[in-house]
Amino acid sequence: MREGLQQWDYVLAAVAIGVIGTLLLVGWSLVGMARAERRRDKVRGK
């Protein structure tokens, strides 16, 4: 039983790293894109 609990600790750690890493990647890319397009529009005087 204890072995099973220990295994879940590893599973949860791996899934958390995968999910958080993916969400960070998506968020970072979207924020970077929005910032760059805002800057371009500002330079263009839009």
Partner: protein, 276 residues
């Protein structure tokens, strides 16, 4: 010689791929006909505006659903127990780490041979998500190894070649960043970056065959062309997770391409203003 100069057409608007290729006469081959449609940045941006959110939303839904299914519904494996659930993060990340560099290699080839205007940008855009998924694969693999193999890490062929892939990504990101900074001086940095992207692709077959060529704690390939040794109970959620993460990867690459294009447009406009 200076293709990046052509990123800023004199008119300030991109009409066609020729706008981009101006400034590099006599270099490269003409684009094959099917690639013309994707060579116009304005057309690409129109497509990316609706495709990017579609890829991201569908990818997030599919991958989240598959991971939850893997966590809550899939039974424990006879040998690996509960840790088999790490499969649904680790394997898609491993595929995408290699797919990221394959994208870079193809983009580099297209850039070097046909001087496709978006190829360098596509390669650069794939580097960061590729590196992120490579890192996720290495970390989750290490977490999986501890209860399964009794160690966090071994210097065997598969793990070492995959770590080399992460370092190759770091090198490519640094090199492409330097090429972007040297864009105005036209030092040919994009070409050096593309050559690095092509040469680095030699590591992909090494990673793929490493578990066959060398003794390894890592298991041999479970899925090969058309065949799988994984039971269907585990396989279908894995394929859906891989599809979901791949869609996310595609959406992130499109977002980063839009970011890089917007940066180039802004820099070009600022340069014209400074020269006026």
């Amino acid at each position: 010689m200076v293709p990046t100069i052509a990123l800023a057409p004199a008119s300030g608007k991109w009409q066609s791929a020729r706008d981009w290729r101006r400034g590099s006469p006599g270099e490269g081959f003409d684009l094959p006909a099917p690639m013309h449609g994707f060579a116009n940045p304005a057309r690409f941006l129109r497509m990316a505006r609706w495709l990017m959110p579609l890829l991201l939303v569908s990818g997030l839904l599919l991958s989240l659903g598959a991971v939850l299914y893997g966590m809550l519904v899939v039974p424990p494996d006879r040998l690996m127990g509960e840790t088999v659930r790490i499969l649904y993060i680790h394997v898609p990340a491993a595929w995408l780490g290699m797919a990221g560099w394959s994208t870079i290699a193809i983009a580099s080839l297209v850039e070097l041979v046909w001087r496709h205007p978006l190829a360098a940008i596509a390669g650069r855009a794939a580097a960061v998500p590729g590196a992120m998924f490579t890192a996720i694969c290495l970390i989750t693999g290490s977490i999986w190894a501890r209860p399964t193999w009794g160690t966090w890490w071994v210097w065997d062929g598969r793990l070492t070649s995959y770590l080399v892939l992460l370092f190759l990504y770091f090198g490519y990101i640094a090199l492409s960043g330097a090429a972007q900074r040297d864009m105005v001086s036209g030092s040919g940095g994009n070409r050096i970056t593309a050559i690095f992207g092509l040469v680095g692709a030699i590591n992909i077959p090494i990673i793929n065959r490493s578990v066959v060529w060398w003794n390894s704690l890592h298991q041999p390939p479970s899925i090969t062309a058309g065949k799988s040794s994984i039971d269907g109970t585990f396989l279908w959620p894995l394929l859906i997770a891989a599809l979901g993460f791949s869609l996310i990867f595609g959406g992130v690459v499109l977002a980063r391409m839009r970011m890089l294009l917007a940066d180039i447009q802004a820099e070009a406009r600022l340069r014209r203003k400074a020269l006026a």
